[in-house]
Amino acid sequence: MWLRLRNQNKKQVYQYDKVAQEGIYGTIERDLHANIEKVRNITGNSADIVIRRFLLGKEENLSSALCFVSGMVDENMVQQLLIEASVQLSFPSTCCDQLDYIEKKIATANTTRRVKQWNEVFSLLMSGESILFIHGMQEAISIAVKGGEYRAITEPSTQLSIRGPREGFTESLGTNVAMVRRRIQHPHVRVEAITVGEVTHTNVRMMYMKEIADDNIVEEVRSRLQRICMDGVLESGYIEQLIEDETFTTFPTIYHTERPDSVAANLLEGRVAIFVEGTPFVLIAPAVFIQFFQAVEDYYARFDIATALRFLRILVFFISLVAPSLYIAATTFHQEMIPTSLVIAIAAQRESVPFPAFVEAVIMEVTFEILREAGVRLPRTVGQAVSIVGALVIGQAAVEAGFVSSVMVIVVSITAIASFATPSFAIAVSARLIRFLLMVLAALFGFYGILIGLIWMTIHLCSLRSFGVPYMTPLAPLIPTNLRDTFVRFPLWALTDRPHGITEETNIVRQGDEQRPEHNQETRREGDEN
């Protein structure tokens, strides 16, 4: 029984860690046989726990056993280790401490440590190290031969870019951290290790730039991570939900990314990155609203293009938010606001449609959401079938059957495309939810309803905070210098300040003066003369 009932009438108290370790208290015994039995017992004789018994040393006088979890260790290294230990190792005639000698002599390429406590043994064993038990020794040697198969570094699947590095994070924590460190080669990059999940013992790394990141924010992130106490943390989404400021909101207050360059850029702005073992998605906190409209590529492309794209994205977000509700409001309440010829065309089409605009819109939007969901979860080969059926159903058949008007099809398509064009999936999803609310409001009150909904949304956005930083920074509270990197993206040399409110205030300037490229007038004149 893992969970013990303290009191039948009272609420159960979470005490996994305590119970789980109760059985494995104590220290290693001298008898090798007993130790092996213990390991077998505790792991329930699991099939993937390999216990390899062999005789240690050339003289073959020390019976010992190497314990490891198959698949989590590097098989080659284990093999080499075994050869080293059984064939090559020989004890000098006068030896003071055999264990010390063994530790120093074998596996010199790997880190080793001596362990005594059983709970330590098991946590190391489960994390993928091999444990060497030796008969007659009260200590075991743990050898880091972690390995096993991981997905190779590939292009990120969620945040593609035309220009920029092609590598995305993998499921391996060490690789991920290294990928970022390779980008910022400075000792001020701090990496803190935290283990969360009482059962899963998931490794989490918190990364930030000393001197740039605000100490209070770092401390806040750290303390929120340490608070987590639950069975399993399987993905960074778990952590995101456990440490975010506000649960009851559709807006993400923590950014997540699959791109190492994005993490590096955010670290340089003073944010904190949280890496979680087993997922390519790295969390970044604190996050502000405008961040979800920024793509890494904005900074790689020239500023005019980046600015144009930023505007486009904001526009696209609004379209995905309000397009169906505008249609409902305009056709139900405010026909006079549509140009006459268009209103006649719409009316002619809607003549055969049996539903009010709202029902029509809801039918189409829901159909679209179903299609999208089906497309996401299905295997790729079937996915094509979905899109064909979807195109036929949504596009033609529905209009021809008189279910919906073709204008509605256009509106839904624009909305759909717009929501795909929003760079961050997290914010696109929240727009999806709010869209339905706005549709209801539009059906009830027309434009008034939409405006009230948007005011409500704005108030809500303004009330959000991410790790103490107001969510709408730098728009509200307004920070003029940081407006250079919001709706517009000024030339790089003009982005002189790191984000105020996030970065340590005493260290806010991020580049030297006069970064603006100077035109070399003299060389040009010479060129003209020639």
Binding site: F333, Y448, L451, L475, L478
Partner: protein, 376 residues
């Protein structure tokens, strides 16, 4: 008082939105005919004087709202009575603005929707904002400030492109001398919207940098005065003084004149955005002041607990204060001005200031209130 602080910039923007509020859309001071812009500017200048009175009061008690320092100035009992009167006044004006707003929506776009529903939807949003606190309101005002400004600029540009402006309609200036203008100033434009800055005596104490109140407040007053004068002047220039004085919403009629390239026409939605955003902030500020004042008077720690009861009261009050729009307008122009605006915006603050000055003078040159209140 809530534990919060806002920046001078936020105060400035909140004040601008507040001043524009309903004043932008209603026929403000149209009795002055084509000189309505002059009447507004004169109202602004005199309103500046009133603001200075409020500002002086604030400098004596920089950490206290009106409802608290009235008790320090005229004693606990009379101060409390004054405080209650002001709280009721703020709530009543909130209800009035809400009614204005609902009626405007009703006549302009939703003839068949019940007034109560329109008001209720608005009031719920207002309550939500007030529940979130002054910091959130101030932050939201920064976002809406820019959207409102863009819309105003867009409207101006479009109307000029559409060629609807005829500056000759603004002539003759001062046709009947200064008399009618000052009549309008002292009966209308001084109180609404400029004298209504009295409500900011409840918000000034939240300011992070107290010395910036003066600058932010007066700049807001100046800018909104000029803007309102320009808007009303534009209305006259587009529609003519006669049309403006007969219209219920001159700005709407003006916007409807926009016809550009057979494409940009019937931009009523611009008017609607201006109306709703402006109305929203006006109700929010009044309602917030009322709620905070009540919480301050009755020593309620969490002012949020008052939001729902008072909000519902304001909602019902907005329906109950008049049986129809005509009655509502008449009340507003005659009774409210004489019995509420003049005493509460001018007489009492001036008296309070005089008493405060006398009291401070008696205690020596250094006003003790200014420093003492900083550590509550």
């Amino acid at each position: 008082m809530e534990r919060a602080c806002i920046s001078a910039r936020q105060l400035f923007m909140l004040a601008i939105l507040f001043e524009h509020g309903s004043a932008m859309v209603i026929p403000l001071g149209v009795d002055a005919k084509q000189d309505v812009w002059l009447a507004i500017l004169c109202g602004m200048v005199l309103g500046g004087g009133l603001l200075f009175v409020y500002y002086r009061l604030f400098t004596y008690y920089p950490r206290l709202p009106l409802t608290s320092y009235s008790q320090r100035i005229v004693g606990s009992f009379f101060g409390r009575v004054l405080g209650i009167i002001y709280v009721l006044y703020f709530l009543y004006i909130a209800a009035r603005v809400l009614r204005d707003f609902g009626e405007l929506l009703l006549t302009f776009a939703y003839p068949e929707t019940p007034l109560f529903i329109l008001n209720a939807v608005m009031m719920l949003t207002v309550m939500y904002a007030v529940y979130k606190g002054i910091e959130v309101i101030a932050r939201a005002s920064q976002l809406f400030f820019f959207s409102l400004y863009w819309i105003l600029i867009l409207g101006f540009v479009l109307i000029i492109i559409a060629g609807a402006v005829d500056l000759h309609r603004l002539q003759p200036i001062l046709e009947e001398g200064w008399g009618p203008i000052f009549h309008v100033v002292f009966t209308q434009t001084l109180y609404v919207p400029f004298g209504e800055m009295i409500v900011f005596t409840m918000i000034f104490p939240y300011l992070q940098k107290q010395e910036k109140v003066m600058k932010a407040g007066f700049l807001a007053l100046l800018l909104s005065g000029i803007n309102l004068a320009m808007i009303m002047g534009m209305n006259v220039a587009v529609l003519g003084a006669d049309m403006v004085s007969r219209s219920t919403f001159p700005l709407l009629n003006t916007i409807q004149e926009i016809r550009v390239a057979n494409f940009l026409e019937r931009l009523d939605v611009l008017f609607m955005i201006a109306l709703i955003v402006g109305g929203f902030f006006k109700v929010v500020v009044f309602f917030y002041a009322g709620v905070i004042g009540a919480a301050d008077l009755f020593q309620i720690k969490e002012y949020q607990r008052l939001v729902y009861p008072l909000g519902i009261s304001v909602l019902f009050l907005s329906i109950a204060i008049a049986s129809n729009f005509a009655e509502h307008i008449k009340e507003g122009l005659q009774i409210v001005t004489i019995y509420m605006h003049i005493p509460l915006q001018i007489v009492i603050p001036v008296l309070l200031l005089l008493i405060a000055m006398l009291r401070q003078g008696k205690r020596g040159r250094k006003p003790q209130g200014a420093r003492e209140q900083r550590t509550p």
